[in-house]
């Protein structure tokens, strides 16, 4: 396969970036998207150019490190996967591929395609935890909780914190992320003692970081690699309202 790549290049957080065009031939359809960038980077290193900086770690869709805006979509055109799970067979021979970093005011570009996602960590630090020691996993029948609720909590806990919801949202809102984190605790008994203080603290931190507000377009849910549902955002609103009026 032959591809024309339009890649955002930016030296550091203070520099102004722009798109650079690269031609890449002999791309195997079986390569992952990140392997394709690896090949390009080897060529750049060979020609004494600065390789493209991008975040990656596990390369199997569970760590949440990678995240690129590919051809106008967070993690590329396929649903329910991260960009490391995207394969070159999803593209056409001769196609032009635009590769951009996540765009949001709270996520400043550090270099090329790497953005600073520490606002998500600060939201977690504000309340995304249980203070008391909960011990190791209890016996299945020790904590009474029905199967459906356990599944809902697990679905919310599948969030890998990649930031695709922020990237895809027209308002750069982090509400899907925050709602998933609030839900995974609110649904289970271990999370109940700090239920109200948690949601208040996490929403306050989210607002402080400068994320936009949800307008229920559903773009986040569509682009989330873990397909986390916006029913969690309704739960977040509910939890918040309950905590405020209590």
């Amino acid at each position: 396969m032959k591809l024309t790549l339009k890649v955002w290049r930016q030296k550091d957080a203070k520099s102004k970036g722009d798109f650079k065009t690269y031609e890449l031939s002999d791309v195997s359809p079986d390569m992952s998207f990140l392997e394709m960038i690896d090949i390009l980077n080897e060529k750049l290193i060979d020609s004494k150019e600065d390789p493209i900086a991008f975040d990656h770690d596990c390369r199997e869709g569970i760590c949440g490190s990678c995240g690129l805006y590919v051809n106008g979509r967070a993690h590329g055109l396929k649903r329910g996967i991260t960009v490391c799970q995207l394969h070159m067979r999803s593209f056409n021979d001769g196609e032009t591929v635009w590769i951009e970093p996540w765009r949001a005011k709270p996520f400043p570009v550090l270099k090329d395609l790497i953005v600073d996602r520490s606002p998500l960590d600060r939201i977690m630090q504000a309340g995304g935890f249980i203070s008391a020691r909960t011990g190791s996993a209890p016996d299945a029948h020790a904590v009474l909780i029905d199967h459906d609720t356990a599944e809902l909590a697990m679905d919310a806990a599948a969030c890998i914190g990649c930031g695709a919801c922020v990237a895809a949202c027209k308002n750069a809102s982090a509400m899907l992320f925050v709602s998933a984190k609030v839900s995974q605790f609110a649904l289970l008994p271990q999370g109940h003692p700090e239920r109200e203080s948690r949601v208040l603290a996490m929403v306050a931190q989210m607002d402080k970081e400068g994320f936009g507000s949800c307008t229920n377009t559903g773009a986040c849910e569509a682009e989330c690699p873990k397909s986390i549902s916006i029913t969690n955002i309704a739960r977040l609103n509910r939890e918040y309202l309950k905590a405020v009026i209590k």
Partner: protein, 217 residues
């Protein structure tokens, strides 16, 4: 008291106020529409005149009118605030962005459909409320409604605004419930269906009036 201010300034608080006022404005649309259907009675506007006299002179209605004006003002003020904040949250746009792949056009254009409905509202208030209640007119309300609907430009704009109102309601109705935290596997499909019906029937009901008078008068 601090908690109320914090709530009203929080992202979710602002959204909740928008949805509450939105649902309130939806209820106003129903009342307004049912009253306006009196225009269709073949009594040369007699019943409509009684209705509009009652609406403009009754004390309780006058009190409710203040609530309605506040409802509009708060809805518009909060959406304006949220829109500005949301724009600020993405200062650098994407070079390529395929939003149509992950969200509906009506959901992404709420600010613009709302802005056009607002411009309609201003013109609408000018032609009826301002002319009759503030300036005073020799025509009856019925006569001035019929007169204005004879003008194809005014009637056309009216119908166009109702299409936009429909698009605004199409997303707004179900969105209001989601913001209030009412998302449930049993009830959300019903809310979505009612929202679709509401966003078609109410604007179509209003739009039927200029179309009817343009054709039959």
């Amino acid at each position: 008291m601090r908690w109320i201010i914090d709530f009203l300034n929080s992202s979710i608080g602002k959204k909740i106020i928008v949805s509450f006022t939105g649902i309130f404005l939806c209820s106003f649309l129903l009342v307004h529409l049912s009253g306006n259907f009196l225009l269709f009675r073949s009594d040369q506007g007699e019943a409509f005149e009684v209705y509009s006299k009652f609406m403009s002179t009754n004390g309780i209605i006058g009190f409710l009118e203040i609530g309605l004006a506040l409802g509009f003002a708060i809805h518009i003020f909060n959406t304006l605030r949220l829109t500005l904040e949301n724009k600020r949250a993405r200062p650098v746009p994407y070079a390529v962005n395929k939003a149509s792949e992950n969200s509906s056009l009506t959901s992404r254009t709420m600010f613009y459909s709302g802005l056009l409905v607002l411009s309609f509202l201003i013109i609408h208030l000018k032609s009826y409320f301002w002319e009759h209640r503030i300036v005073g007119s020799d025509l009856t309300m019925y006569q001035s409604v019929v007169e204005s609907f004879k003008d194809p430009v005014y009637g056309g704009f009216y119908v166009f605004a109702m299409v936009l109102l429909g698009l605004h309601l199409n997303h707004g109705f179900e969105s209001a419930f989601q913001t209030l935290g009412l998302n449930h596997k049993k009830y959300t499909p019903i809310i979505k269906f009612l929202g679709l019906l509401f966003s078609i029937i109410v604007p179509a009901g209003f739009a039927s009036m200029p179309i009817y008078f343009f054709i039959y008068q």
